[in-house]
Every structure is written in structure tokens, then in C-alpha cells.
Symmetry: C2
Subunit: 344 residues, 2 copies
């Protein structure tokens, strides 16, 4: 960039290294892939040449030949939500030491977009595919099933996984929310989640509310305070707006929100209206995000392990990719209730 001594000087290739080291390209390839196959002298010469030329192997070319690209496709609704960012970090941490590189695709909670993104990923021939959720368009499901590589659905516990799954039951988490709030003595229990219409939907959040509803019904409690309001994407505002709507209706003693982000929004809405949490209304979130641990009052929540989902998925994939037969198709990492201040 700075000085142009030569024309856009092509990056050195393995052939250049081999010439400089006085060996064949194959020996260079072996030195880099499995040094043990090469004599110490040749190895030293090759490594010196690599260093001298600043050679960086072209993994695209390598992948074409070996049919292993080293890519792991990871498809999530958003990265703005820290739990998916954490999952990405966990997956990366588990797989990068073995040379795999995540290829991240973002769907914006849209199944149509998921399909587009998936196609883009498939054109890179990933060695494995990780996709959030168990709801996909029929075409996407078909593409995944025929991809010919391991597929892991995460953040869910599908009845009929495409291949593998690592996550937990969002439905059961919602039922636990009902039990928890009932156990605290509440009888008028609300649930707040995003809209269930249009292209952009948070299916996992909906599952949690479905679990909540069934939990309430089984306890003989009314379920008419389960509201769907606002867009999944803007979680803070969604929580605040949904809470405003709920307060307008009145009567709720305790509220479950489908994420800690929206629970925080709801908490702030209460504060703006001068309502005290948990005295006037109890709030239970979901996910155990950092924000819930830091805010005042601290949020009670149903904790899951985003980093763990990524890490476990990575470990599972590493074993699958090395040809190990891995036993369970579905890994349930569960969740646990964490009671802090917002529920009293």
C-alpha cells in the first residue's frame, strides 16, 4: 500500500516456498500439515523459507483439494443480543484451536432471511452447520438435511432434530417461570413477549410464553395477562412498551418476560412510573444476562449458559468431524431458576 516497489506482488505460494527450501511442494505441504512426516532437516529448511517469504497458505485452495474447508457455519438471529454473541464466542473458543473458523450469518429473526443466509453459507462448503432454533422454512430444513455435513440446532430442544441439537426446552423454561412465580405467592401472573405476527418472530420466546400459559392453566390460574407486544428485535423498548400496556390493564402481581433485556426495559418502565419492584410488581426475566446481575434491583431470571451452548456444540462437532460416533442426538443443557431481588 505505502510504497509500490513491484506490481501488486502476488502472495507467495507453496511452490515459491518449495523452491527456496530446495524441496518439492509436497514436502512443504506435509511440513505444514503434519511435521512429523518430514525429516528434521527438510522441516527446518521449509520453515525458514516460510518465514522468510511470509508465506500464508491459501486455505481456499487447500479446501478445494481436501474437501475440508475448516469453516463452521453459525446462523443466529442477531449478534446485538449478547447471548448469541456469547454462544459465538464459546463455539469459536472450542473450535479455533483445531483450525476451524466460524462463518457467522445473521437472520434478524426472519426465516426467509435464514434461508438466504444459509444458501450463502452453503456456497462456502462448511464442514459443519450450527443453526439457532428448531423452526426453519421447509426449504431451509431440506437444505440442512441434504447438506452432507453435521448440523446442530442450538438454543432449543427439538422433538425431531434435523441431525443434532444442543440447548434446552424453552417450553419447560416457561413452565418453570410459572411455577416460580406461583411459588412466590402470586396469583395474577402476566407474561410479556414480542408480537407473533409477520415475518420477524422470536419462536423461542413464544415457546417460553406457551410454557408459562400451560403452567398457569395447570395451576388453575388465569392466563389472560399474557401479552404479545412490540418487535422481537428491539428488546429493550419491547419490554418497556409491553410493560406499559400491562400496567394500563392493571392487576398483575408478577410478570415473566422472555428475556432479561426486555425485563430490564420493563423494570425501567416501572421506575419511570414510580412503581417499586418487587413491592408493587415482581419481575422475572430469562437468560441471566450481565445486565440483570448489574441493575438495581438485580433481576431474578431463568439462567441458561450461552457460552456453554457454544462450547458444547464445538466439542460435539470436533468429535463428529473426527469420525467418532457420538451418542445422544440431543444434548439438553437445561436451565435453572436464579432468584435475586426483582421477585422479592
Amino acid at each position: 500500500m505505502s510504497e509500490d516497489r513491484a506490481p501488486p506482488r502476488r502472495a507467495p505460494t507453496m511452490r515459491d516456498v518449495s523452491r527456496l527450501a530446495g524441496v518439492s511442494p509436497m514436502t512443504v505441504s506435509r511440513t505444514l500439515a503434519d511435521p512429523g512426516l518430514v525429516s528434521p532437516e527438510a522441516r527446518a529448511r521449509v520453515l525458514a523459507a516460510v518465514d522468510r517469504l511470509g508465506y500464508v497458505p491459501d486455505r481456499g485452495a487447500g479446501g478445494l483439494s481436501s474437501r475440508r474447508t475448516g469453516f463452521v457455519a453459525l446462523i443466529v438471529p442477531t449478534l446485538t443480543n449478547p447471548n448469541f454473541a456469547d454462544t459465538a464466542a464459546g463455539l469459536t473458543a472450542a473450535m479455533r484451536p483445531r483450525g476451524y473458523q466460524p462463518l457467522i450469518g445473521v437472520t434478524g429473526y426472519s426465516l426467509a432471511e435464514e434461508e438466504v443466509v444459509l444458501r450463502a453459507m452453503l456456497s462456502r462448503r462448511p464442514d459443519a452447520i450450527v443453526v439457532s432454533g428448531m423452526r426453519h422454512s421447509p426449504a431451509a430444513r431440506d437444505l440442512l438435511a441434504r447438506a452432507g455435513v453435521p448440523v446442530v440446532e442450538i438454543w432449543d430442544r427439538p422433538e425431531r432434530p434435523i441431525d443434532r441439537a444442543v440447548g434446552f426446552s424453552n417450553y419447560e423454561a416457561g413452565r418453570l417461570a410459572a411455577q416460580a412465580l406461583i411459588g412466590l405467592g402470586a396469583t395474577c401472573i402476566a407474561g410479556l413477549g414480542p408480537e407473533r405476527t409477520g415475518e420477524v418472530r422470536d419462536f423461542r420466546g413464544e415457546e417460553r410464553l406457551r410454557g408459562l400459559r400451560d403452567g398457569l392453566r395447570q395451576a388453575g390460574l388465569p392466563d389472560d395477562l399474557i401479552l404479545h407486544h412490540g418487535r422481537a428485535a428491539g428488546a429493550f423498548a419491547h419490554g418497556a412498551e409491553a410493560m406499559a400496556e400491562l400496567l394500563a390493564r392493571g392487576g398483575a402481581q408478577a410478570v415473566f418476560l422472555v428475556s432479561d433485556i426486555s425485563a430490564f426495559g420493563a423494570l425501567m418502565e416501572c421506575r419511570r412510573r414510580g412503581l417499586l419492584v418487587p413491592r408493587d410488581v415482581r419481575i422475572l426475566g430469562f437468560g441471566d444476562f450481565e445486565i440483570g446481575r448489574q441493575c438495581v434491583p438485580r433481576l431474578s431470571t431463568i439462567a441458561v449458559d450461552p457460552v456453554g451452548i457454544g462450547r458444547r456444540t464445538g466439542e460435539l462437532l470436533l468429535r463428529l468431524l473426527e469420525g467418532e460416533a457420538v451418542a445422544p442426538a440431543v444434548v439438553d443443557l437445561g436451565f435453572r431458576l436464579v432468584l435475586r431481588e426483582s421477585t422479592g
Copy 2:
């Protein structure tokens, strides 16, 4: 995955499509790359064959041949911080419609790690490289300069850019913070940022504090309340801990924190101690994160445009990649002071 009718059935290739359509592979290639070059009849047959076979081109192979991979490397400190996730989203939105795919690398605020990640990216032969910040290890700087593709440094305004830059001056943002707090009548002004030791450092945050310090000095105010405490990575906790330390020392009327996340942590620490913001202490954050707009009191902040940085970078790269001569090497998107409730 579900049923294994045939052995791991290789994905169809362009040759398969060409046979089914009764044309040569070149015609298939042209149909997909630039349909205008192909007769309507041939095009129709090819597209039908593509559809029938579920053909997805192998961009790895295409890239090897055309020397354009369609990858854009994006190297950021973390994705957990929503501003970098937003930048990634902005870059993706700008470039994906033209077929480019971001390849995200995360450094965890470590320059050593940045170098490792950069090498991994280079092995994918990206068409362009976007890297956060202007501080890099000498080796990384060298790799970037010799990469032979456009390089954009973002979230900063380097004096001597490697190639291009899109961002703003963190130093000047810090000076603005000083002016803003002085303008509000404060004379004992503190600044809180993460540690400046070890491998993991937030250089941009340090720049902001340096700007604050100079701003205070120029106004003849003391700068002994500028503290570096806690790790850059855990921003919430860092803010809370640094605030606790500051309160232990006492005397601050107003505090600038290097991010809204840590400002929020500080705000909560105040609440836990029964201090009222802004009555007892004024708080100014940085970044204009969603959390600052939602919390109570709402955070005053120095607003930057994370999505805009990504988008502008994408637009710049598209022009560069199409061979346009783009004028300024450094694009300064600036920042602006947003006064809300936390400064009174």
C-alpha cells in the same frame, strides 16, 4: 442425515448442471455470473437445471480461479459489546447485496491475539480487511500493509493510516467530555477507564481519557481523579468497581466513563450506595448505547454511530473494489454530545 439412500452424495457441480441443461460448463458459469451474456433459451435451461439439482456454486473454487473470494475480513475486540456487533451489522448490510461476506475475527482486546486472528483471515484471501483501531503489533501492521488488498481501520482516526480509516478521534471525544462537564459547572471531574497494563488493553478508551486529561489541564482543573481500574472486557463490572474506588476517594462532582456500559455499572453502584444521579454525582458515558437510552436516569453520552461506521466502511470498500479512485484516506464521522438526565 435422516435417511441414507445413497453414499454421502457429493454436492452437484457446475458440470452436473451443464450436462443436465445440455450446455457447456462455461455457459452455466456465465448464466450465474452475468445472465445477459447468455441467450434466453440457454439461460432458462440452465436455471431449470440449477433448480432441479439444488445446485449451489462453490465459491471457494470460484475464488481460487478468479482471485476474488468475496470475503471481507472484519477484526474487532469483541462482539459482546453491542457497538461492534452493530458495526458488523452495518458492514454486512452494505456489502452483502453485492455478494461480499464478512469473516469476523475477535481479538479480546489483545494485540497478540489480533495478529493470530489476522493470519487466520489472510489464509482466506479476503478481498478487503477491516480492523478496529489504529494500534497494532509491528508484525500485524506489516501484514496489513503487504496484504495487497484495501485495509480500513475503524473506530479511530489515525494520523498515519495503513491505508484507509473510517471513524473519529477518541482523543477529541475525551476533550469534548471535559468541556461538557466543565460547561455544566463541575470543577472536580473524574475519568474512569480500564487498566493500562498487560496484554489486554482498550487503547481507544485510553485515548478518550487522555483527551479528558488534556481538556481538564487546559482549563486549569486537576486531573488526579482519572483512574484506571478493572479489565476492559467486563465493562459492567469495571464501571461499578471503578466507581466504588472513586467514591472511596471522594470529591468528584462529575464522572466521565469510557463507555455507556461501564457508565451504567457506575450508575448502579451509585444507586446501591444511595447516591442520587445527577444530584450527588453527574455521569457522562460514551457511545450512545441502547442501555443508556433505557435506564433511569437516562445517560448523557457522547454519541457515535456504530452502524454508520460499518455502513460507510462497506460503501467505501465497494467503491474501492470496483476500482474507483476514492478521495480521502480518512473519513471522520465525528461524534456529538447528547445531554440527557444523568448530568442534570
